[in-house]
Each structure stands twice: as structure tokens, then as C-alpha cells.
């Protein structure tokens, strides 16, 4: 018997290859991303993330987006962290074949809304889906 896993793990397109779509993560316990390559990658495809609070005039839409910075976790090497952490980024490496699937997540919820943005490389050859887990 196949169960409806999507009821607890909804998939929403957040990067079509050309444009980002912010996703509201307030009503979910967890979120993560699937990166699906739609063509062979000849160079590293780098994505950054932005986050925003809800808009003051309409809580259903995001306010002003700001970059999401890297958050170190307990699995990081024991060295003094830099004074200013770099922006959070996901790199799909050069050589990745068409049809490949990579997954990633950020360790925290940075704000009410989050969206990936193109950093560098052939990001147009990647579709990104946010998996929103545990609706509450």
C-alpha cells in the first residue's frame, strides 16, 4: 500500500531555472531542498539563500530579503570561526550529469520566508524544489 507521503512532505518549486519563488516556512516543522540537474554541468552551479520576514502590510508575502549567512553546527571542525561568516551556499559541482538529484538543507530557519538565488555558474540547468515537512 503506497501512502501519501506528500501530505507530510510537500514539494514546492522554488527555482525554475530562471526565477526564484519564495516559500513560507512558518507552518512547517522542517524544510529542505532537492536540486535536479536538467543538463550536464560544465562548471560549478552555486546557489545562495535569502530570507525575509513577513511584510508589514501583508503577512502572507515576504518583506525585504537579506542574505542568509552560514551557521556552524557541532559537526564543524574545531577552529575559531571567522569574524564574519560567509553567505550560505550550495554548490552543485562541475561534471554533474543531467538527471542527477542532490539534496541539502540549512541547519536553521532564518526567517518566515526563504528562497534560493543564483550565485554563479550554470544555475539555469538546475531546478530546485523545497520539501516542506511536517505541516502543523
Amino acid at each position: 500500500m503506497n501512502l501519501n507521503g506528500a501530505s507530510q512532505h510537500q514539494g514546492i518549486v522554488v527555482w525554475s531555472g530562471t526565477a526564484a519563488a519564495p516559500v513560507d516556512i512558518r507552518k512547517h516543522n522542517n524544510y529542505s531542498f532537492t536540486f535536479h540537474t536538467t543538463a550536464d554541468l560544465a562548471a560549478d552551479a552555486e546557489f545562495h539563500f535569502q530570507a525575509a520576514p513577513a511584510s508589514d502590510v501583508d503577512p502572507c508575502i515576504p518583506g525585504t530579503f537579506v542574505p542568509v549567512y552560514e551557521v556552524l553546527t557541532c559537526v564543524a571542525a574545531f577552529v575559531p570561526p571567522p569574524a564574519v561568516l560567509p553567505v550560505a551556499s550550495i554548490v552543485i559541482p562541475a561534471g554533474t550529469k543531467k538527471g542527477a538529484i542532490c539534496t541539502a538543507a540549512l541547519p536553521c530557519k532564518p526567517d518566515a520566508f526563504v528562497q534560493p538565488v543564483a550565485g554563479a555558474g550554470p544555475t539555469a540547468s538546475v531546478q530546485v524544489v523545497a520539501i516542506l515537512s511536517g505541516p502543523r
Partner: protein, 138 residues
């Protein structure tokens, strides 16, 4: 601490509202479960009906479906009323009146074959993005 749930629940775009980006067939063989998220991008004025096609692997290329695909038939489960009979082709309907931004989820009770593909049947299917969640990679 957030966990990477996408490791066990990968999301793949199976139907885009953009007509030039048709639904690709999805390989179900390496996943324990599959299900669908229907994200409504504009108000639905006419029932949007989706059907499903399935196919075994092509013996000449096991990474591709054997064409032509066939329509997936409805399968009754134990929650069906006593005496109910299947309706024929399996369908998912996003009803007229559904507002933009709505999220609906659905699945099929069985794996019909190695590959499955979503097919727009009628109505406002062009206003909906569909993602298949592939659960439990194995």
C-alpha cells in the same frame, strides 16, 4: 536543528504550468513510495483533471520507459464502500473555485509500473505546478 528530509523525500517537477516544459516520466523503481503535490498558481475556474500513464522499462534502455505508455486504472482500497467498482482511468481533480496559492496532495495506492507520468486531461491544468515526492530511496 533542521534535518535534511529531502534525503528521504526528494521532490521532482513532474508537471509545469509552462506548456513548453512537459511532464517527464519518473522512475519509481528505487523508491519505497511516491506522491504528488499540486500547487495552484492561479485561481481555478474549471475543474483541472490530471490522469496518469505508466510503462515498464524499455528492454533496449532500462533507464527509459517502454513506449507507448498505458493509462493507469483506478484501484480500489479497503476504504472503498462494499460493492464499489473502479471508475476506469485514475484521475486527480483540483476543483473549480480553488484559489491561487493552494496546495493539494494525492497519491495512488499502488506502483503501477517502473515509470509513471502525469497527463493533463482537461480544465485549468495550465495553472498548476505538480511535484512528485519520491520517498524512501533504496
Amino acid at each position: 536543528m533542521l534535518m535534511n528530509t529531502a534525503v528521504q523525500h526528494q521532490g521532482i517537477v513532474i508537471w509545469s504550468a509552462v506548456p513548453t516544459n512537459p511532464a517527464p516520466p519518473v522512475d519509481l523503481r528505487r523508491h519505497a513510495g511516491f506522491s504528488f503535490t499540486f500547487h495552484v498558481k492561479a485561481d481555478i475556474l474549471v475543474d483541472a483533471v490530471f490522469e496518469f500513464a505508466a510503462a515498464p522499462a524499455d528492454p533496449a534502455n532500462p533507464c527509459a520507459p517502454l513506449l507507448p505508455q498505458y493509462k493507469v486504472q483506478e484501484v480500489l482500497t479497503c476504504t472503498a464502500s462494499w460493492g464499489a467498482v473502479p471508475m476506469g482511468d485514475t484521475a486527480v481533480i483540483i476543483p473549480a473555485g480553488t484559489p491561487a496559492g493552494s496546495i493539494c496532495t494525492a497519491t495512488l495506492p499502488c506502483k503501477p509500473d517502473a515509470f509513471i507520468q502525469l497527463e493533463p486531461a482537461s480544465g485549468d491544468t495550465g495553472k498548476i505546478e505538480v511535484v512528485v515526492t519520491l520517498s524512501g530511496p533504496r
